[in-house]
């Protein structure tokens, strides 16, 4: 099977090729023919087929959960292509070593194709597989871009990183085959690379931007759960792509050079290959240096500004009972939040709602992951100077289905309910709240400390309101409460926490979930009748229990019960 191409090459010229075709051209044609055969075999290799299925499944699994943010989705295409890169490494290595396994080395010596040309043919067999990876990425991004409410634009270099990784893996496999004849080397190298990359990626997640040298690895996950605006991402994607491609060319050229040395090829040919190695090495080193530069001071300052004063970086729109503040470009997500917000507002008595609206819903990102970790500045994310109504924070990721959807809805509903209750109870000076619908510009910056809304009767009311907004919100609250660590007295919805995200008391949550079991209209009537009492910060759970005729859950943490049992309450 392996000698099919060489038979063509070996055939007397009269059989197919005109006699006057020079040997050099015939040899090149044979090389291309071998490359075509090898690329076909590579694409049909069982490991590659399995990895393609795994990659496609990983892309689909990642994409289906959330409403796409395309400048984050392009980064997320890289890890799913890693199995394909690993399969390329193994399959090309096996292909290069096939003559050794089949005892066909001597047969190859009788063909016109030199060892170096055969190596080049093996190298050329990889780009079609990389193209397959590119097709997978393009299809994934097209699918995501076609979804309703998708935002952002993909970065070409981020999208091309996955296919470049396939090229790197394939050419590394060829080089390993030319260096060692053992088929055991490639799997060991693959595992070493994979685990090494994971270690590096872990360092990156733990160490943020200070350890920029981790970019010398192959794959890096984004650091925040919620995508920041593209301008604040600060990933050296283009240089990383150049670095990967440069490294791939170094490996490929080394493989050719090694074959030339083994076959004692002409000096001139070896010199040319050597020059390619040196040039590619120079490019790779340059890209490595550029990509590992620390975050520029300007970007760090912009991130800090966005963390401390998000208002200056967001655009706000008033729609119905709420003002929505989003990062520029994220406007299409507002429509997804509106039903939940309206449903929560509908659960509040009209008079109280009139006092409370508009609620400000503002996007927040887990800035603490992007802002340098040894930042001693205590003002990050909690600027108390900017007095304004606290916002209902929402991430830049919105779930589409499953866990992500219910958690997103639960977070939004609970935060909106918290703000509604706070604002309907406390008198907010009208200067802080825009009264006109035309271009309102409230301050969506972090407000005063919200400790307290998560405790006592009004927390139960807020959580109950949130859970009544939609079945998904109720399911999300239940899930988040069940998954929360049980040893603490307060819990929060699992997200990149923002200072405006309330911490809910465990006892309050138990009470609210127990209330959900009772007829909703009955509870709503009682609450509406006693709205001022149940939303007062001083009303205890016992009092609320009396009003509703429900026994509040026992206080397991502090048997004396009452107010102030936890650090946050």
């Amino acid at each position: 099977m392996t000698t099919t191409v060489e038979h063509h090459d070996d055939r007397p010229p009269a059989a197919g090729v005109p006699r006057e075709v020079p040997a050099e051209v015939r040899s090149r044609r044979s090389m291309l023919a071998l490359a075509a055969v090898e690329s076909g075999r590579l694409l049909r290799h069982p490991a590659v087929l399995a990895a393609t299925a795994l990659s496609a499944w990983l892309l689909w699994r990642w994409g289906k959960g959330t409403v796409p943010v395309l400048h984050y989705a392009d980064i997320a295409t890289q890890f799913p292509l890693a199995p394909l890169a690993g399969a390329a490494l193994l399959a090309t290595n096996l292909a290069v070593l096939r003559p050794h396994r089949d005892g066909a080395v001597d047969l190859y010596g009788a063909t016109r194709l030199s060892l170096a040309r055969r190596t080049v043919a093996h190298l050329l067999s990889v780009p079609p597989l990389a193209a397959l990876g590119g097709v997978l990425v393009a299809a994934d991004l097209a699918w995501l871009a076609g979804m309703p409410a998708s935002v952002g634009t993909p970065h070409l270099a981020e999208a091309a990183t996955g296919p470049a990784l396939i090229l790197l893996g394939g050419w590394l496999g060829v080089l390993l085959g030319r260096l060692w004849r053992s088929v055991a080397v490639a799997p060991l190298v693959l595992v070493g690379l994979a685990v090494g990359s994971l270690t590096l990626a872990d360092l990156y997640v733990g160490g943020h931007d200070q350890r920029s040298w981790v970019w010398l690895g192959t794959l890096l996950r984004p650091v925040t759960i919620d995508p920041p605006p593209a301008a604040l991402l600060g990933r050296p994607a283009t240089w990383h792509l150049v670095y990967l491609l440069g490294a791939a060319v170094v490996l490929g050229a080394l493989a050719v050079w090694r074959s030339q040395a083994q076959a004692r090829a002409r000096r001139r040919a070896q010199a040319v290959t050597g020059a390619v190695v040196v040039a590619a090495l120079a490019v790779t080193t340059a890209a490595a240096v550029v990509q590992t530069r620390p975050t520029s001071a300007a970007l760090a300052a912009r991130r800090l500004a966005a963390a401390t004063n998000p208002a200056a970086h967001q655009v706000c729109q008033r729609r119905g009972p709420a003002v929505y503040c989003v990062f520029p470009g994220f406007e299409r997500q507002i429509g997804l939040w509106e039903p939940t917000v309206r449903a929560v507002v509908a659960g509040v008595p009209p008079a109280a709602a009139a006092r409370a609206v508009p609620v400000t819903v503002a996007q927040r990102v887990g800035w603490f992951r992007l802002v340098e970790e040894n930042e001693d500045d205590p003002t990050v994310g909690q600027e108390p100077g900017q007095a304004g109504p606290p916002v209902a924070p929402i991430g830049t990721t919105w779930g589409r289905e499953g866990h992500a959807l219910v958690i997103s809805q639960a977070r939004l509903a609970a935060n909106v309910a918290a703000r509604l209750i706070e604002q309907s109870g406390t008198d907010i000076s009208p200067t802080d709240v825009p009264s006109t619908d035309a271009e309102p510009k409230p301050n969506p910056g972090p407000g005063p400390s919200t400790a307290g809304i998560g405790c006592n009767a009004r927390a139960v009311v807020a959580l109950w309101l949130a859970a009544r907004a939609s079945p998904q919100a109720a399911a999300g609250l239940r899930q988040a409460f069940t998954d929360a660590p049980s040893e603490f007295e307060t819990w929060a919805l699992p997200n990149d926490a923002d200072v405006d995200d309330p911490w809910w008391g465990v006892r309050e949550a138990k009470f609210a979930l127990a209330l959900l079991e009772r007829p909703g209209d009955q509870v709503a009537q009682t609450l509406w009748r006693n709205w001022d009492v149940v939303t007062s910060p001083e009303t205890s759970l016992e009092r609320l229990g009396e009003l509703l005729g429900v026994q509040p859950p026992p206080d397991s943490a502090n048997p004396s019960g009452g107010v102030g049992f936890g650090p946050a309450c």
Partner: protein, 248 residues
Amino acid sequence: MPARRLRRQLRLVPALLVPTARAVGWAAALGAFALSLGLLALAVRPGVPTSPAELVRWLRLAMIAAALGYAFLLDDPSEPSTEAVAGSLLLRRTLRVVLLLPATAAWWVAVVWRVRAVHPELPLPVAALTLEAAALLAVTLALAAAGSHLAPERRGGVVAAPALLALASAAFFLPARVALYAPPGGAAWDGAHQRWAILFGLALTAFALASRDPAHRRLPSQVRALGRVRARRPAVRHAEQRTTTPAS
């Protein structure tokens, strides 16, 4: 009968021991153990805070790296020529595994020692993880034995190594109901280790079945009788044809 056969086979062990030790490809196996320990030392080091779940994840990756060495353990280029010796294929293969066991034990002790030394405060379910390691190695051996039927010159490692990597990565994505790589302390931990134990048994059985000597394969008597009835006439005709056709 089987007892006598077994005794006959075991009597061959001393004679086979040294040649087998010479024939085993030690480089791949020991290289895999070294790689596994190196990666573990890189990932689990003092000063890096780790959760029990992460620690167990690194241990599992170290197991996969070491199992790759087992993938090439059965590769024996001389197998077609040693078919004629008295020791069965299963005996010869088992001997290879037994020869590697001391190194395997040393590797596992080193792994556990490293993790214990770096994170003495974290609980480490050693027994359950040892079961996982043993099952993974057994699965690798079964893959290698099965792969030797597919690969040229019966070198199953070519099949076993990629298959092991594919299966192990797939195992990380199994749904919770049938999870193998369960996080420690979770509800799925006990169920997962029951599955590991079953897998261990299945893998050993598969290894033994795939290593049956083609020369000594014995079918149940009913099947043999059935085969004899069905094959009698064509076989006779075939034999006649053979004797009558001139050799070319």
